[in-house]
Subunit: 409 residues, 2 copies
């Protein structure tokens, strides 16, 4: 007997028929003697419908009230899923974030989980219930309803798996696993049976849409065994995300996948005096406004000044620009502050990279051969990311996928 | 400065534009220096949509899960209403039943309020907030979400007014007050400026749809000043529901109104041995199944047996019949158990009735003159109710309205 957390996304619970499918899958796991916790998202389209309703009233809705409204999406799905299980004769009980309770901070619309009280769930599991938990939502210390931000249902699933010490957290989605890259861009893309957490983390953070990055971080931190599966296929083991690279397989490919992301914009601050503390003076006000920053690059110029470049989500570029112009530019005497949202980020990811030189040069040569100019470069032990002009993104992904031989298993 | 609770029903918050209207009305009260608590229902149609979703999964949905789903209707409206107030520059904060907390028993889908914690609301009111509370819902001692049953938002409003010791509880609806009877049946029906609690109670319980009976009981019990108003008219004082009959006005009419109700069905148990405890043996199992019973009549027959008749909601007639046939008939040796859902109840109501004889005989004569047969009679100090064949209902209401001179102020 194992304890399994299964998370189903919005397309997997898009209508009553699909919810019945979810219930049948859960029933098969119950029949094998497993304990099952089900985490569900809102029915697809529902979150957007609720956000639109809020925006009909207030263009930039108050985040506390927005969370009150948006959290109802998952609340409807947990009720329906519990009913579908009961209809199959399975004992089931739904839980909102408040009822669990999934304690978060009070950063409405992008809250972070602080603690999960697993006692009620444990008791119900031991009494034979399937617990159906609303993803994406929690409650702060004052009883306010919070949401974790888009994709937060994955995080809920992994955090519950960690709190319950579950044997496996299964993320059901509309794809059947993690691919070497997006098959819509590269038809030859191949499903990976296994991937390490570090690789997955880089792939997720670099824009692979299969799993949300915070859920992968959580899984890594708490050593939760994570598996990505399709909710539309009866069979298939999906992709297992492992803690360790496979030591047995010496022929493991160097590169696991190519990730890409066109959601970011680049902000450049030029002519900044090259003094200690300058990075903080620039990024502090941006962080205070709750704007997430991804890549950060600083180059020393010849004249004792430096150029400082970073990327943010496209939606937040204008907000970041006006913060910098209003609060930072005069203060630090920067020459110019500019933004560019016609960029894309492309990354090659693989644990094999650690022990292989030449990956970077092969990547840069491949792009150069296609005449693609590189605007920014950022590297980690298992990743090389470049920022290029957005219009070259698909081309870059295709030629890199081929250059690193990813189409061959 | 007064503390006012305003309750807005589903048609008053049916869409963003109407919610903005609600906010503007609240703003006018705030501008006069009043503290305001707003109680809102789900947008009209929303509760039925959610019930349909549940029934798509399970024909007779588990009541706990149904409440989880249905309660989201009001949760969306509180968010929207709070946003609409903020958009007008008014500090506002929404509350679910759990957040208030409105403690109920655990009779899902028809829970009763046990206690209201008014501390958070009081603090926010004192801090200048308008508190927007979800009607119709509460939370049981174990943290389960409950709903109060249809029309329960009125009860929420009155219960909050009682807990907060509000100066007035205003119930906004799509009619501009309480009428002598339904104007759709009798065009000459007249709006009452005032009505006593007892009369209102009888009118509500007898089927007048303006206010839900439990809210009137609550208001009477806690001496909450209740006013029914239209949310679609800027002006008008609606109908005030008073604690005392108006002693000053000697010419007060004897009858205040005619109520009617076609939602009930009649169940008759014939040939029951006339022994002590028989009423309990019949009604006990019905009550245990949470079926509400309205009128109850017992007649002694000539042969030492008795006939026992009572009414229940039409939707519950078949359930009640099968309970009686399965669990009661053999046990008490009843000759026959039969149901009739083609009935209507018509009542004349008025505190003036106490001191006037002849109301009953006038009522019966009026119906007899139209050839309408009376199947059951039930009386209270201020009400006479009769059950007649359903098809005669409108006719009965019209002739009684005329016979008691209700068209003249």
């Amino acid at each position: 007997m194992a304890l399994i957390v299964q998370k189903y996304g919005g397309t997997s619970v898009a209508n009553p028929e699909r919810i019945r499918n979810v219930a049948r899958r859960v029933a098969r796991y119950k029949a094998l003697g497993h304990q099952v916790v089900v985490v569900v998202s809102a029915m697809s389209g529902e979150t957007n419908r609720l956000i639109s309703l809020a925006k009909e009233i207030m263009q930039d809705p108050d985040p506390r009230e927005l969370d009150v409204m948006v959290s109802t999406g998952e609340q409807v799905t947990i009720g329906m899923t519990a009913l579908a299980l009961m209809e199959l004769g399975i004992k089931a009980k739904s839980y909102t974030g408040t009822q669990v309770k999934i304690l978060t901070d009070d950063a409405f619309t992008k809250a972070r989980i602080l603690d999960i009280d697993e006692h009620n769930l444990k008791k119900d599991l031991d009494d034979g219930y399937v617990c159906v938990v609303a993803g994406f939502q929690g409650v702060d210390a004052n009883g306010n309803i919070t949401t974790l931000g888009r994709g937060g249902s994955d995080t809920t699933g992994v955090a519950l798996a960690a709190a319950l010490k579950a044997d496996e957290c299964q993320i059901y989605t509309d794809v059947d696993g993690v691919y070497t890259t997006d098959p819509r861009v590269v038809p030859e893309a191949r499903r990976l049976d296994k991937i390490t957490f570090e690789e997955m983390l880089e792939l997720a953070s670099q824009g692979s849409k299969v799993l949300q990055i915070r859920s992968v971080e959580f899984a890594g931190k708490y050593k939760v065994k994570l598996r990505v599966l399709s909710s539309f296929e009866e069979e298939g083991d999906g992709t297992l995300i492992t803690f360790e690279e496979n030591e047995e397989n010496m022929e493991e490919p160097i590169i696991s996948g190519i990730a890409f992301n066109r959601d970011e914009a680049k902000i450049t601050v030029t002519g900044v005096p090259d003094k200690p503390g300058i990075a903080y003076q620039i990024l502090g006000p941006v962080a205070d406004a709750n704007i997430d920053v991804d890549m950060i690059i600083q180059n020393v110029g010849a004249d004792g000044t430096t150029d400082f470049t970073f990327t943010v989500h496209k939606n937040e570029m204008n907000k970041a620009l006006s913060i910098l112009r209003d609060k930072v530019q005069g203060h630090i005497q920067a020459r110019e502050i500019s933004g560019d949202d016609k960029i894309a980020k492309v990354s090659v990811v693989g644990v094999g990279m650690r022990s292989h030189v030449g990956i970077a040069s092969q990547m840069f040569r491949t792009l150069a051969e296609e005449g693609i100019n590189i605007q920014m470069i950022s590297t980690s032990e298992i990743k090389i990311a470049v920022v290029i002009e957005e219009k070259y993104m698909e081309l870059a992904v295709r030629v890199l996928h081929k250059a690193f031989g990813l189409e061959n298993a």
